[in-house]
């Protein structure tokens, strides 16, 4: 029982991060049909920038805020200088552009930062909390709680604000969005900024637990992509569910089978989804849009 609970705790913690990465994929995909494989680099930038700004003497909260701002700027730059000029390119071309951007960002991070692993101090100490024989780190609660707050904020943004509805409208029908006067380029830029911000926050929250380095983004992007696929590409609820499921699957797999294959589970999930239910758990809408 304690063991099971322990696996659930660690699964939910890492799953919350995957969920945020998957949400980043979803937001950009819905607004622009681009699958942004640089999503993991946003997470890396958030963590690494915070580490180095804190090391430079900034108080941790300020360093974190500055890191989010920097990452959002990078996300906007990615859109303005790589995606927007390729307007009208095919989906495959756009995917290759984002893969190129991810490699470039990783390379730049090696130079601007370094190649070492770094750890941020935990936000509320490292004393584990005991629950029914299992333990959970206070930082895990920060990760899960932070993900919850982001979800609530996103829900409010998309359901209540006119700008959020304009993003949904653009995702639903780009032509009609243009015709009612929505600047769809603004919406796509906004979705890149939003995804970058979410990724950066995820990277900051998880850095005290998993450590961070210039190359953590690669694996996170793949896991997040698997989560988005599992939930059904383009479905935000699916992205969150998919992220949590993959996190739990990894935790249980590592605990009951072998931790050697921890990273393999996400890829097995991608393959299974592609073979068995290409639409994902929450049934995707048709991929072809007219």
């Amino acid at each position: 029982m304690a063991e099971l609970l322990q696996f659930i705790f660690s699964g939910l913690t890492v799953g919350a991060v995957y969920a945020l990465v998957a949400l980043g994929f979803t937001i950009i995909y819905n607004a622009s049909d681009v699958v942004n494989f640089a999503q993991g680099e946003f997470v890396m930038l958030g963590g690494m920038a915070t580490v180095f700004l804190a090391a430079a003497g900034l108080p941790l909260p300020l360093a974190a805020i500055a890191a989010v701002v920097i990452t959002v700027a990078v996300g906007l730059g990615l859109y303005l200088f790589a995606i927007k000029p390729a307007r009208g390119a095919s989906a495959v071309t756009l995917i290759i552009i984002t893969i190129g951007a991810s490699i470039a960002l990783r390379g730049a991070a090696q130079i601007v930062f370094d190649k070492q692993f770094h750890r941020l101090p935990s936000f509320s100490g490292d004393d584990p909390i005991h629950i029914l024989g299992a333990t959970i780190l206070p930082q895990s609660l920060w990760v899960i709680g932070g993900a919850g707050v982001i979800l609530a904020a996103l829900w409010w943004f998309f359901r209540v604000t006119l700008t959020g509805k304009a993003v949904l409208a653009t995702a639903a029908n780009r032509l009609a969005a243009s015709l009612v006067g929505i600047d769809t380029r603004f919406v796509v830029g906004l979705s890149f900024a939003l995804s970058a911000g979410i990724g950066a926050i995820a990277g900051i929250l998880v850095a005290p637990i998993t450590l961070t380095s210039y190359e953590v983004g690669t694996m996170l992007a793949l896991k997040g992509f698997a989560a988005a696929m599992l939930g059904g590409m383009g479905n935000p609820i699916g992205a969150v569910a998919g992220g949590l499921l993959i996190g739990l699957l990894e935790a249980f797999g590592a605990g009951y089978l072998s931790s050697t294959y921890k990273d393999a589970f996400a890829f097995v999930v991608i393959l299974l989804v592609l073979f068995v239910m290409p639409g994902g758990l929450f049934g995707a809408r048709s991929v072809e849009r007219v």
Partner: protein, 252 residues
Amino acid sequence: MPETPTRETPMPETPMQETLLEVADLASAYGRVKALKGVSVTVNAGEIVSLVGGNGAGKTTLLRAISGVQPVIGGSVRFLGEDVTRLAPHARVDRGIAQVPEGRQIFAPLSIEDNLRLGAYRRRDDAIAADMEAVYELFPMLKARRATPAGGLSGGQQQMLAMGRALMSRPKLLLLDEPSMGLAPILVDQIFEIIASLKQRGVTVFLVEQNAAAALSIADRGYVIETGKIAHEGEAASLLADDRVRAAYLGI
């Protein structure tokens, strides 16, 4: 059935035929295929002008070019005297141009109310709620289902929603692309009655239709487009009486 304003009713005082839209020598292409080969069209304030023609004649392309969602390779679009040929679509909505696109193109997953609210996306005034009530008055069945996703509406209801959405921007010029397409005849009559009634509300209408008889019967003036060029133009009544137009488009 609501009261139909007929052609015989005296026109509401027309503000001395101010030119609203002036399309001059407009050309547009899809790749190497020219869809518009120098089209000139004028719409005066207060008019209903219909553009009729067959499939692929360039009707939709012309409307898209006026709205700014279709690149043009020559000619100009002037709106209230201002050259808007290079303006982004949203800037043209600001000027008072609204299009009801072919095939409705509603925001299917969003509620009917959100669809209408987004129609007023560019507006910052405080009459939006009142205008929404006015749209609900025009299309009562939309109000009953205001909170439900728009994708659940029937084709005719979606057409009404698309028109309501466009009206929410308080357009000076309403561009309608094939509003009768795919609708049952009874609904077609209803839609055309509503279009005719828009004139009383001070909305100028530029209507594109394959259903030439219906489109010309509610119009003041008309144009006939053939393979990217204007083939005939004139008073709607005289086009309806023109033998060539009758033979080609009215099946008489």
